[in-house]
């Protein structure tokens, strides 16, 4: 067969259907539809720890570490005063105009790439997030926490469950200085002639 074997019609449906035509038989979900909204993750404290605790190789563990470290720069909680940071996380770093907690480790979710047969099983990391040990007061004391305050659990377990929602990449927020610096070439081109019959800028 030279065409896609099955397509997810639900995925592309933009309006509820107003009549019934045949393609009911095609309405099969593809992609990540495993039902459960949780994923298993591991908390590791170093690249070595990652190698020991997960099925990931050295290279993948290092990449996951680098990823978490880079994410921490933009997503870690920021404190104006060092004492506030220390009160909640004990170990903190100065970033010039603010302080952030030092990463206690990172959480990784791994996945097996299906590359044909079982012999060629390849593990890669699907998520990697910086994690911190919360040392402030209250119920969350000595629990592992992500950048946005999601509590994973107490350290020492072989794995943890986390909701998919909490595992999503954290948006990096900034302050926009100006807008509108792209698009002027297209609008200049669209002003030629009088027909105005151009559909778009793709081709």
């Amino acid at each position: 067969m030279k065409r896609s074997s099955i397509l997810d019609l639900n995925l592309l449906r933009k309006h509820s259907r107003v009549f019934a035509l045949a393609p009911v038989s095609l309405a099969v979900l593809m992609g990540c539809s495993s039902g459960s909204s949780d994923e298993e993750v591991k908390f590791v404290m170093s690249v070595d720890d990652c190698e020991n605790q997960t099925s990931l190789g050295r290279e993948a563990c290092e990449a996951a570490y680098e990823q978490a470290l880079a994410d921490a720069e933009s997503t870690a909680p920021r404190y104006r005063f060092e004492r506030d940071c220390i009160e909640e996380f004990n170990y903190c770093e100065d970033r010039g105009s603010y302080f952030i907690p030092i990463m206690a480790g990172y959480i990784v979710a791994e996945v097996i790439d299906e590359v044909g047969d079982a012999i060629e099983r390849k593990y890669r990391y699907k998520h990697s997030h910086p994690s911190y040990l919360y040392t402030g007061r209250g119920a969350n004391r000595n629990k592992i926490m992500t950048s946005d305050g999601f509590v994973i659990g107490s350290p020492g377990k072989s794995s943890y469950r986390m909701s998919r929602e909490a595992l999503k990449p954290k948006p990096k927020v900034t302050r926009t200085m100006s807008r509108g610096g792209f698009g002027s070439t297209a609008s200049a081109k669209s002003n030629w002639g009088s027909s105005g019959k151009s559909k778009g800028w793709g081709g």
Binding site: R3, L9, R13, G183, K197, K199, G200, W201
Partner: protein, 392 residues
Amino acid sequence: MLRIPCPERPNWQALAHEYGFQFHTMYGEKYWDESAYYQFTLEQIENDLEAPTEEIHAMCLEVVDKVVNDESLLNKFAIPRQHWELIRDSWKNGDPSLYSRLDLTYDGKGHAKLYENNADTPTSVYETGFWQWLWLENNVDNQLLARASDQFNSLQEKLVNRFIELHALTPGRILHFACCKDTDEDRGTVQYLEDCAKAAGLDTAFVYIEDIGIDNKNEFTDVDDQVITWIFKLYPWEFMFEDEYSAHLGKQNMRWLEPPWKAIISNKALLPMLWRMFPNHPNLLPSFFEDELYKIPEHMQLVKKPIFSREGANIYFTDAQGVISDKDVHSDGPYGVEGFIFQERSPLPQFSGNHTLIGSWLVDNQAAGISIREDKQSITQDLSRYLPHIIL
């Protein structure tokens, strides 16, 4: 290759509404046209279209490799000097690509010939990957088409699989999708690709090109002040290079779809470069730079195309000396100051009075299906009608 008239599905417009296909009719004229379809044999598809498509793409990549390392060629491709490094780096880093569409002329016999390569911002991907696929399924179910009917169209399946690979290569980033305002077609195209990315498990967001902002660290932002770290833009590189924010390009840790090196092969200068590197290749038309007119055989009829032309704009027919031969037959448009190339005139085949162009799709480097456009005029433009096809 046959053109076969057939009845339309009585409910297709309601179906189009259901699936959000907004631009099937534009400016009061039919764009999606299912009053006929094209029929191919499997041999025509596999030998004449699928295999040559992958071969042409491989040749295009050789052109990229040559051009990025040659300043005089980068000038010939009209690429501004300040962006050479961005393009070169994206090529050397192996920045992955998503998709392309080759425009081919083919009449069912002999060799398909490359007209041009829409490697940067191809559209009609929704009509191809999903809508014509649904047309086939419906009409097989309605017993209007033989049960053995197939289609050369694994586009959506391949796109979703490609997004899974891209996700693995680019973990932990949100993929923004962007197009210009005020165009239903581009918005629909980008929405479709975003749907495919979501099916692959990616986290996505949308921003209009005109709404992109910048912060004081050269990071591009969306309307929610989120930093854009990975973006699919349905907006040509050569436009970006001219825009005000071009000065900020390459100064942030950002991944682009399509990657900057696609600026080399979505460029019409690709055509004379291919002819120079692979002369007399059966799937290429003789093509020449403006300073190569002396090489052109005396009686060869030519087409003159601007280096950055889109959707068939500013195309002229000329004789072998580059003199415009028929002032009445050309297409208007805002392109040409960047220079032109010449390509041997190879008229599109006609079926029932229609000029027929084949778009052959690639996802990364794999041939993934075809789309068919028809026009009453000899130069197909962006309002040409789209017709489905089958293999039988």
